[in-house]
């Protein structure tokens, strides 16, 4: 490659970069006219997704989910607690979503991300209302002891579609979760039995072996951006900041609608746009189910 060629390539690269920074909307619209996006994806396609179960060895259940560059690490820790008097047979799930400064340059120690509590609440509502987990399964001794599951999701890289990646990692962590073995100790309190003691128990174990949670239905989601007549699936952070109207659709494994979330935005969605989004989500649910099942069977082989 001659030196003049490389310098002209570099200068045209810089021109494109400059145009992208100065006129982001025109840059993206120019791509949309050709039905493509700057990263060469067609409008309805999501980014490469990968899942790894058991990423955190010290937690009872964990998963690392990556959609494109967006990375979420979810981990579940179980603690024993006394159930409330209104629901003595039910345990409890606490979901928390964190965006540490590592995930994005706009998050700094004095300035937490706006998106963090929003996604946290959305996740909490979606997971608890979808009926994915029967809280009665988390009960140990009726009225006396039940499990409190703390699900913490850390965003390690925020590049758009945070809710999708967070939900995926949460669902994967619950699929990976193994409830530890417990027994009653001398004071009549429930204690977690460690691996070494499990073989030589004097007292009866309250639950015999580590068991997995039964998930009745698994929810998956897809976030889309609405811009003029275009619908872009799985936006990156750049696209989200330029075209602000987002819509998130959550479907369960039988393609029933669990949640629909469109928090305002300059573009109004007509019924056909909503139906198109739901159709794109159905497509995505099939992809994600496959990815989750592959990740689970990879774990079992190990």
């Amino acid at each position: 490659m001659s030196s003049t060629n490389t310098s002209s390539d570099l200068s045209s690269e810089m021109e494109v970069d400059a145009f992208r920074r100065l006129f982001p909307l025109r840059f993206h619209e120019r791509h949309l006219l050709e039905s493509i996006r700057p990263d060469a994806r067609p409008l309805g396609k999501a980014r490469d997704t990968s899942l790894a179960l058991g990423a955190v060895a010290s937690a009872h259940g964990s998963a690392l989910a990556k959609i494109g560059c967006t990375t979420m690490l979810a981990a579940i820790k179980m603690e024993v607690m006394t159930p409330t008097t209104e629901s003595p047979d039910e345990g409890c799930i606490v979901i928390d979503f964190h965006m540490p400064p590592i995930c994005s340059p706009i998050v700094r120690p004095g300035r937490p991300a706006e998106a963090a509590p929003v996604v946290s609440k959305q996740l909490s509502d979606t997971i608890l209302s979808s009926g994915m987990i029967d809280l009665k399964e988390l009960s140990l001794v009726s009225g006396k002891a039940a499990w409190m599951a703390y699900l913490d999701i850390y965003c390690l890289d925020a590049d758009g579609a945070l809710f999708d990646a967070a939900l995926l990692s949460a669902v994967a962590a619950f699929s990976h979760l193994e409830i530890p073995v417990v027994s009653l100790n001398d004071d009549g309190r429930v204690v977690v039995v460690s691996e070494e003691d499990a073989g030589k128990l004097e007292k009866e174990a309250v639950n015999k072996e580590k068991r997995k949670l039964k998930l009745s239905t698994i929810s998956f989601s897809l976030t889309c951006i609405l811009h003029k007549n275009y619908i872009l699936a799985d936006p990156t952070a750049e696209e989200e900041s330029i075209m602000e109207t987002l819509m998130t659709v959550v479907l369960d494994s039988s393609f029933q609608l669990v949640s629909l979330y469109k928090p305002g935005g300059p573009v109004l969605a007509c019924t056909s746009a909503i139906q198109d989004c739901v159709a794109l989500t159905r497509q995505r649910v099939k992809e994600l189910q496959k990815i989750l099942n592959e990740a689970i069977s990879d774990m079992e082989v190990d």
Binding site: M1, V56, A57, S58, A59, S62, C69, T71, L73, A75, I76, K77, E79, D96, H98, P100, P101, I102, S104, P105, R108, P109, Y150, D152, Y154, L156, D157, D159
Partner: protein
Amino acid sequence: MYPCFNFSSAVFEMGNTKVIAAVYGPREVRCEYSMANFSTGDRMRKPKGDRRSTEISLVIRQTMEACILTHLMPRSQIDIFVQVLQADGGTRSACINAATLALADAGIPMRDLVTSCSAGYLNSTALLDLNYVEDSAGGPDVTVGILPKSDKVTLLQMDAKLPMDTFENVMQLAIEGCKAVATYIREVLLENTKQLEYRRGV
């Protein structure tokens, strides 16, 4: 090292301790150390802002400040964020190693790499890189950070009692651990640079 977004980052694992570090900048050097809620055996209620986290943030900041050539970037600030994902002893050392990698990935001019390793003394044996169980056994814990090329010690922390000659053995062991980490880090950086060259078509 992940090529996403416009900052630099690195992940470092020492056994079961996993740490991720990100560097933004250059502005002046600031450091924040934070532990994930699920990183330790029992779930933590206060992952940052407690005394231990503040102390470790200070230690990492001063250690890195010693080797960054700040005079080449006047009136600039460098932010180092360290997030512990899994803690099993030696978090301080893993954080310093991750920060070094992230700074190198960011292309920030440094005097030398800073590598760190801990060592202890249990049952009359010097042990390198204690994990959580060994650390809680109550023996001494020596953490050393060095600049491997110039053999200079920038960080030295110790708790519990140790006679002077045993201390020298333990410190020597820690320094050898640091050098081993430095060799590994250099290999990783070289490999990464080759990948970058390959992608740019050089």
